[in-house]
């Protein structure tokens, strides 16, 4: 007999295998080789987290107890998925257009980016998922217990609880490791999705293998199996019609509303076209999963002693026949089903909890302008990790409270019915412009209350939460409020009863509430965007004129999206506007785009609030709303074409305006050029002339004589240097320079620049990460070093911080290698950033610096000759320069 310890080892090895797969997938995605990670096959397999331990273990138990009814759980989603053109397609399109992060975000975003609705949906989702997560813990624990029993040690409650706790802790760890690496929920979790796809294959294979073994190995073939079925206790087809219809409805609706399904269906979707494949492949998966359920149930009922738990037939039947290998395979299938569900569910729920509850609370606890100072990313990540632990903790508590003895399918249905409360608000929001947030809130609250009262609370057992007396006679003896016979309808099946009343009350309140209340402008805008998502390809603007500074927006975005992503967005927008650098004009369109990007990380409501803090009082106006009107749709089409043209004109105009500004600035400078040259030459000459006259006059002490000669010498050197710089620049500008191309490493180059910059011991501190600097280079190393020396020397001269520090940050990406020089001083104001690379554009404070203001102009010319760039990088706290190394050279050397 297989020892229990060996089983634990196998499980751990399996987890290690999943880690490897997830890790490899992340590595591939990071290297940009993610084409096959985004295939329709992987998408379909990831949808299979619909089939949890409930399916793997519970379906057989369900069939053994209630015959074919288990099929409703798979027919519901089948109908929804083959009808993808109706709802799923629209959900996915909206999810992409609005950068939706979760089902709570969808509802919140649809109803005017309402924070309150986000909280409400999150609470419902967490409460409804709790029994479901408990179900997974229970099934894994029970399956361990089966093997423990086999080795002769029967598990008591203590061992079961300990095992459940260990499983929960392990899942917390795995989920945190792979689910909270990326902050942007819209950035797909490649590792997790890949691991789940692998688990989908394993659970399918395991169940099918057990099925084949049962049909051909035990029963003796399909015909004999069918005969066995007809002879079994489940032979009579006495299906309750209301349960059949009700459960098909609930499972189909749950497929859309469950946070984890929304996560894989919408959030992790990388291509709308995958839906077309999934529309038939996913039903096929469900069908194959369901195929052998009844045979296993029937054979189990025949073989196993009366009273054995039918939920575990998938394990106990092979074990009873002495097929331990098959049993272990089956165990792994069940393990896969449970873990994949828990991982995705907790990722989805933790995103919701952190985006809709923790971050808004954190933001409101900070003073005005909080997003400019705190580290939002760290807060979001920490809150996600804590939420993951919290959600699994709740599941464990439910497992303990419910006693761990309930049939799996019964627990699952409780959870489904809770999640389905989101359906009216979701469908209403998708198809009805008139739906309002008050309606949604009323429907969600009442539906949730009815569900909790009639199904969730009674599930803890009579007398556990609701006293037995209340269960039988209603609260305070009010008969029509009896949890399982509301409004006096007695004798209904409890689940159907709960589904019926909660959906009726929910949808009714949603409708009446929507009809009676009036939507805010933001709701109407979002409503139009959602309902007409296929018509409105260009978004209606949620922001009018804004007073925000591009640099403030950049600073905030960096704190949420991370520096490189935020800079890329700003740079792209600036380029689109025909500008150079990282600071585009803050147009309403750009603010909208930015808000959507932020929404991908922290949810629509929070992103809206954060942007709103920077852009004072510039939200939608009535005039903006006119564009929402239905009649505007045709005008929109026409004006879109005009807009395309005028966008082109805009771009040209902006480029011209910029060029003009630059020319004006330049001509003033050109004019100043001569007087600058004059000043730079005459200043050292003054000292030289004056002191040489003093020396000529004679009659002074030797010490002074020596000192004055020294001054003359130093000033002569300064003159020479200036002339050298001028000459250098003119050579570079005329393109007469010959490059001396060599190969070397970036690290050596920076080493050389730092030592050559002549740093004083008490001067600026240099912070580097040498491990990042191992980049081979083939370029003119001396010239590049010259650029670095200049930047380091500049930081030394101009950084005004009390404890000056210069960070040298090397980053490698697909776009090439960048080297950032970031100091912690006062930085350079936006209007000066344009001109610092011009000749003699030294800013204020001349005398102190001792340079002629040619350094950055030379740097720019050198980088242009080398095929790279140098630019000022705004929003870094201090002055920051980004040197982008010549790409071709860097690649060639790799």
């Amino acid at each position: 007999m297989l020892t229990f310890n060996l089983l634990v080892v196998i499980s751990l090895a399996y987890v290690a295998f999943l880690f490897t797969i997830a890790f490899a997938a992340e590595r591939r995605a990071a290297r940009g080789q993610d084409a096959w990670l985004r295939s329709p096959l992987i998408y379909t397999l990831s949808l299979s987290i619909y089939c949890t331990a409930w399916t793997f273990y519970g379906a057989v138990g369900y069939a053994a107890r209630s015959g074919l009814e288990y099929l409703t759980i798979y027919l519901g989603p089948t109908i929804v998925v083959i009808g993808w053109w109706w709802v799923v397609r629209k959900l996915v399109r909206i999810g992409r257009a609005q950068r939706i992060t979760s089902v709570a975000d969808l509802i919140s975003s649809r109803f005017g980016k309402s924070t309150a609705l986000g909280v409400l949906v999150t609470l419902i989702a967490v409460v409804a998922a709790t029994p479901y997560i408990a179900l997974q813990l229970q099934s894994v624990t029970l399956s361990f217990a089966v093997f423990a029993d086999g080795t002769g040690t029967s598990w008591g409650e203590g061992e079961l609880n300990a095992a459940a706790l260990a499983v929960a802790a392990g899942l917390v760890l795995f989920t945190i490791l792979f689910g909270t690496r990326n902050l942007d929920a819209n950035e797909r979790h490649h590792g997790v999705v890949m691991a789940i796809a692998a688990e989908a294959v394993i659970k399918l294979c395991a169940l099918v293998t057990v099925g084949i073994f049962v049909v051909w190995g035990i029963a003796g073939g399909p015909a004999q199996t069918l005969a066995l079925i007809d002879a079994s206790p489940i032979s009579a087809w006495t299906q309750s019609g209301s349960r059949w219809v009700g459960l098909t409805f609930v499972s189909g609706a749950a497929f859309l509303c469950l946070p984890r399904m929304f996560q894989v269906l919408v959030v992790e979707n990388s291509d709308e076209r995958h839906l077309a494949t999934a529309s038939w492949a996913f039903p096929l998966y469900l069908m194959v999963m369901s195929l052998f359920v009844v045979p296993i149930a029937v054979v189990g009922l025949n073989l196993m002693p009366a009273g054995s738990n039918p939920d575990l037939f998938v394990l106990t039947v092979p074990l009873s026949q002495g097929h331990e290998g098959l049993a272990v395979f089956s165990f792994l299938g069940g393990f896969s089903s449970a873990t994949s569900m828990v991982i995705v569910a907790t990722i989805a729920l933790s995103t919701m909890v952190s985006n809709h509850i923790v971050v808004p609370l954190w933001l409101s606890s900070q003073r005005q302008g909080a997003m400019m100072s705190g580290d939002v990313r760290a807060v979001v990540l920490l809150s996600r990790r804590l939420s993951i632990a919290g959600v699994l903790g709740l599941g464990y508590v439910y497992y303990r409270l419910s006693g761990g003895g309930t049939a799996l399918a019964a627990i699952g249905l409780i959870s489904f019915t809770g999640a389905v409360q989101i359906l009216p608000a979701m469908l209403g929001g998708l198809f009805w412009r008139g739906a309002t947030r008050w309606g949604a809130a009323a429907g969600l609250t009442l539906g949730f209350a009815v569900w909790a009262w009639s199904l969730f609370l009674p599930s803890f057992g009579a007398g556990a939460v609701i006293p037995a007396d209340v269960l039988a006679h209603g609260p305070w003896g009010i008969g029509w409020l009896r949890p399982q016979a509301m409004f006096g309808i007695v004798g209904m099946d409890p689940v159907v009863h709960a589904v019926f009343w909660s959906m009726l009350v929910n949808a009714g309140a949603f409708f009446v509430g929507s009809v009676l209340t009036f939507p805010t402008p933001m709701e109407r805008l979002q409503g139009a965007q959602f309902v007409n998502v296929f018509e409105h390809s260009t978004g209606t603007r949620a922001w009018a004129q804004s007073a925000a500074e591009a640099e403030d927006l950049l600073i905030m975005s960096q704190r949420i999206l991370g520096p490189s992503e935020a800079q890329a967005i700003f740079q792209r927008e600036a380029a689109r506007q025909g500008k150079v650098g990282y600071l585009p004009d803050v147009t309403p369109g750009f603010v909208d785009l930015l808000e959507r990007e932020l929404a991908g990380s922290v949810g629509a409501a929070t992103a809206h609030a954060m942007i709103g803090q920077l852009i004072e009082g510039a939200s939608v106006s009535v005039e903006d709303l006119i564009r929402v009107a239905d009649e505007a749709a045709q005008i929109l089409e026409y004006s879109n074409r005009l807009e395309a043209k005028s966008a082109e004109q805009d771009r040209t105009a902006r480029a011209l305006r910029d060029a003009n500004e630059k020319l004006t600035a330049l001509s003033i400078q050109k004019d100043a050029f001569l007087s600058q040259i004059s000043h730079e030459l005459r200043t050292p000459m003054t000292s030289i002339r004056s002191f040489s006259e003093i020396l000529r006059d004679g009659g002074m002490e030797a010490v002074d004589q020596e000192k004055y000669a020294g001054i003359i010498h130093a000033e002569a050197l300064r003159l020479t240097r200036l002339l050298d710089d001028l000459l250098d620049l003119s050579v570079l500008e005329n393109g007469q320079v010959t490059l001396n191309v060599e190969t070397g490493s970036l690290r050596d180059l920076i080493d050389r620049a730092v030592s050559a910059a002549g740093l004083r011991a008490d001067g600026i501190r240099i912070a580097r990460r040498k491990s990042d600097e191992a980049v081979p280079l083939t370029t003119d190393l001396d010239r590049l070093t010259q650029v670095f020396i200049n930047l380091i020397a500049n930081a030394q001269k101009y950084c005004t911080a009390a404890q000056p520090e210069l960070r040298i940050v090397v980053q490698r990406s697909a776009g090439g290698t960048t080297v950032d020089f970031i100091d912690n001083g006062a930085g350079i104001e936006a209007r000066s950033q344009q001109v610092i690379f011009e000749k003699f554009s030294r800013l204020a404070d001349h005398g102190k610096a001792g340079g002629a203001g040619l350094g950055l102009a030379i740097c720019r010319e050198i980088m242009a000759r080398l095929g790279g760039t140098i630019a000022y990088l705004p929003g870094q706290g201090g002055a920051a320069f980004r040197v982008t190394l010549p790409k071709a050279e860097a690649l060639a050397a790799e």
Binding site: Q676, S678, R682, T686, R689, S690, A844
Partner: protein
């Protein structure tokens, strides 16, 4: 003579040179390198002659001169302006604002000495 000259200039070596020339001639030389606080300095300890550079950190020599002339206490104060830019426009500007003398760098030591002496003599031609 012990008369006081205030030298408003930010190039250390030029400060050193002018200080040396004038001290040797018996002047008490005070120096000030910051344009922004130059007017306060003049008001606090009024000198007999001011030597004023045009390009100063914080505030240009022209602005300082304009403020000096706007203040009743210093409207008569003799001012010698120095510039390294050497354009006639600068000379015109300096004269328009009320500078008593204007000199272009590099200057000869004798020239400076002569100019300061001349400015310190009351009631002479400007």
């Amino acid at each position: 003579m012990g008369k006081r000259v205030l030298l408003i200039e930010d190039e250390p070596n030029i400060i050193e040179a002018i200080s040396f020339i004038l001290s040797r001639d018996g002047w008490t030389v005070h120096t000030h390198a910051n344009g922004e606080t130059a007017n306060d300095r003049v008001r606090a300890t009024p000198p007999d002659v001011v030597i004023l550079d045009v390009m100063l950190p914080g505030k240009s020599g022209f602005d300082i001169l304009r403020d000096l002339r706007a203040d009743a206490a210093t409207v008569q104060l003799p001012v010698l302006m120095l510039t390294a830019r050497g354009q006639t426009r600068d000379r015109d500007e300096a004269m328009r604002l009320g500078a008593n003398r204007f000199m272009t760098k590099p200057f000869s030591n004798a020239e400076v000495l002569e100019a300061v002496r001349a400015l310190a003599r009351p009631m002479t031609e400007t």
